[in-house]
């Protein structure tokens, strides 16, 4: 095992908390039962790394095995790193019928055709997702396994999720992935959590079904002051309904941020000369939270935001993106700016 392979191995083991290492090594299935028993997970991390490295050397494992381990780690922990969503467009007629083998062949063929030194690994996961690991080299140097790009594609959808792709490699990847499509474009959605991204885009979370009655916590508050509660309950119901329409009811995908680039005319207080300006009042608004959609939903339900929910915010769930450029449609339009694709 050369230095690079050892580095890759060390990096994988160091990232995992000790209690999870055992499971990963078992799944990997490259160490013997005796070796697995011999590992003591209560030791300090550097000791475990040393032990695992020596076992791998004993078993004469090579780069292929180690990259396999890394891939298993990423598939088991999809919420590490930063993921970006892309969408394939202009599907050709036979795009839907592509099966896994065809996709693999075409993808590899394309990439090998454009980049001389490259290492590609493709795995299919149970949930219909294809995971691709790419270590990029160039005309003169071997593939760099310390900075691989990960790509996840659900075959019969038009979505592609990418992590750790350098700008210079973007074009190569685009051509190879969009084999049966006209083009690939930026989905304007990026998060740390691949799970959240898939839930949002593949509509895997519970959306509109409004339960028809207030959730427990809101009701409890109104019991303290029953008269006030009665007055407010109608408004609270309405706000809650609006919040559920925009952001769903129940657990939401865990997005962390949403960014809006504002290029609209100034709409502040009435009597300033600024309101008559032609130029835009430029700025960037960034919302962040440990669970953005939950925060926004609570914002609407509690009255901190006025309903109905503005299309700027509901576009996060409706259009599945979290980066927007907001411009005025033109003179004479209503004061609500609209979300446009950049």
């Amino acid at each position: 095992m050369d230095a690079q392979v050892r580095s890759v191995l060390r990096r994988v083991i160091q990232r995992i908390p000790n209690k999870n290492i055992e499971n990963l090594l078992k799944k990997w299935n490259c160490l013997s039962a005796d070796q697995l028993c011999a590992l003591d997970y209560t030791r300090p991390k550097w000791m475990i790394v040393e032990q695992v490295t020596s076992f791998c050397e004993e078993n004469r494992l090579n780069l292929k095995h180690i990259t396999n381990l890394e891939m298993i780690y990423h598939i088991e922990n999809p919420d590490k790193g930063v993921w970006h969503a892309c969408q394939l467009t202009e599907a050709q007629d036979d795009a839907v019928g592509v099966d896994l083998t065809q996709f693999k062949e075409q993808f590899k063929a394309h990439l090998h055709g454009v980049v001389r030194h490259i290492s590609i690994k493709i795995k299919k996961h149970e949930d219909e997702a294809i995971w691709i690991r790419i270590a990029w080299g160039d005309n003169f140097s071997k593939p760099n396994h310390l900075k691989p790009t990960y790509v996840v594609h659900h075959l019969h959808t038009s979505y592609v999720f990418i992590s750790n792709l350098m700008a210079k490699h973007k074009i190569f990847l685009s051509i190879s992935v969009a084999t049966k499509h006209g083009s690939i474009k930026d989905g304007h959605l990026s998060t740390r959590s691949l799970t959240a991204m898939r839930e949002l885009l593949l509509r895997r979370y519970q959306q509109v079904t409004y339960p028809g009655s207030l959730s427990g916590s809101l009701q409890a508050k109104s019991n303290v002051y029953p008269c006030i509660g009665k007055e407010h309950s109608e408004h609270e119901e309405m706000r809650y309904q609006m919040s559920c329409e925009a952001f769903g009811h129940g657990p939401t995908p865990k997005l962390e941020t949403a960014v809006y680039r504002l290029e609209t005319r100034y709409r502040g207080n009435g009597n300033h000369t600024l309101s008559d300006r032609e130029e835009f009042f430029r700025g960037v608004v960034r919302f962040s939270s440990s669970s953005l959609l939950d925060s926004l939903r609570h914002c609407v339900a509690s009255g901190m935001a006025e309903g109905p929910v503005t299309p700027l915010l509901s576009a996060i769930t409706q259009r599945g993106r979290n980066y927007f450029v907001i411009t005025d449609k033109g003179p004479g339009v209503s004061s609500q700016a609209s979300a446009q694709r950049a």
Binding site: G268, S289, G307, I326
Partner: protein
């Protein structure tokens, strides 16, 4: 009742009246003096005409009422390096500083800085030996330096700034190893309220703003030493949203002379989980908005608090028209531009030394207002 008794009663009522007047002026709840540990001192407060009864504890100088200003002058750029040694300025501009206020220091002399350095170093070493937790581990000792930073003081009443630096001497250092700076702090007073400063007795020095950078344990040790040596009290200085609003407006007003690069405001909304909103405004556009509220060419050099509030309201309203979210339901937590940043928790960063006086004036004011009676 004799004449003497009448005199005593009269004086008692006089001081009672003064005490209550101060309390009202400060707008704070009555701080029962009995709750403070009484420090029996033989020094008088300069009012030798009365033997003040022990339950009236007064900080010297609080006969004046400190008011919150509703207007102030615009931020003026100064080539501060004309007044202050550039090396000293470089020390201030580097770090993020945590703010505290400190009550006036008794018998503090700018001429004794070398002796203070030795005393503080000895104090830290002694505390170390006693086992007071200092995270630094294998350090053999500390070297403390007190420096006077001349030129930051603006008025005649301001005392000169004092900068303190603690360097560690690691146990196994080679001779060529430079000692590492582990803690920095400075005490300053810039444009402090002149009436208040003049009312202090002559043996008190007021340097109300204390900025620190370094480990909490060292900060606590330094504060303890100061409290024992100069009979003062420290407290944490959190900024309020009015100060942050002033900074946003004052810094924006500087844009023509010094590119502020952006005006970034950060709010925190109390949702579950909490939502952070940061609004970064293009500096030219922010300046145009400010200029429409307080025109640059206006003859009146004073900026009124209402103009500042109008500025912030304008930004909040523009935001509201897009997102329908009331930013006023949350708290403004941080303001930053290229000139510096200020956080509600009492943390600041100085970006550009040209406008350092404006920032320090605001902070000195906050420190003086926060001090307890």
């Amino acid at each position: 009742m004799g004449k003497r008794d009448v005199q005593i009663f009269f004086l008692l009522f006089f001081w009672l009246g003064v005490f209550l007047f101060i309390m009202e002026g400060r707008g704070s709840a009555v701080n029962t003096p009995a709750s403070r540990p009484l420090t029996r001192r033989s020094k008088s407060y300069g009012r030798s005409c009365v033997e003040a009864p022990s339950y009236f504890w007064q900080t010297p100088g609080h006969l004046t009422v400190l008011k919150v200003p509703t207007s102030r002058g615009a931020a003026k750029s100064q080539l501060i390096t004309n007044k202050v040694d550039p090396e000293h300025i470089a020390l201030l501009v580097k770090n993020e500083w945590k703010l505290s206020y400190v009550t006036p220091l008794h018998h503090f002399r700018h001429t004794q800085l070398k002796s203070y350095s030795r005393h503080l170093a000895a104090f830290i070493a002694a505390e170390n030996q006693q086992g007071v937790a200092v995270e630094v581990g294998l350090e053999a000792g500390f070297k403390v330096t007190f420096t006077a930073v001349l030129g930051l003081a603006e008025t005649d009443e301001d005392a000169e700034t004092v900068f303190i630096q603690i360097q560690s001497k690691p146990a196994f250092a080679a001779a060529a190893d430079a000692p590492k700076v582990v803690w920095r702090g400075w005490l300053t007073c810039v444009n402090g309220d002149p009436e208040y400063l003049r009312s202090l007795p002559s043996d008190f020095v007021s340097l109300p703003l204390f900025c620190t950078s370094g480990s909490e344990s060292l900060t606590t040790l330094v504060k303890t030493w100061f409290e024992r040596a100069f009979d003062c009290n420290f407290g944490s200085l959190a900024l309020n949203s009015t100060t942050l609003n002033w900074l946003a407006a004052l810094w924006t007003g500087c844009h023509p002379t010094c590119n502020i690069r952006h005006l970034k405001l950060a709010w925190s909304l109390p949702t579950q989980p909490p939502l952070d909103v940061s609004y970064t405004v293009n500096p030219q556009d922010a300046w145009e908005l400010w200029n429409s509220i307080h025109p640059e060419e206006s003859t009146d050099d004073k900026i009124d608090i209402k103009e500042v509030q109008s500025f912030i309201n304008g930004l909040e309203t523009h935001f509201f028209r897009h997102f329908k979210i009331y930013l006023s339901a949350g708290t403004l937590v941080k303001v930053s531009t290229a000139l510096g940043s200020a956080h509600l928790d009492g943390k600041i960063k100085i970006g550009n030394s040209d406008y350092i006086t404006t920032l320090l004036t605001l902070l000195t004011e906050s420190a003086l207002l926060k001090m307890p009676t």
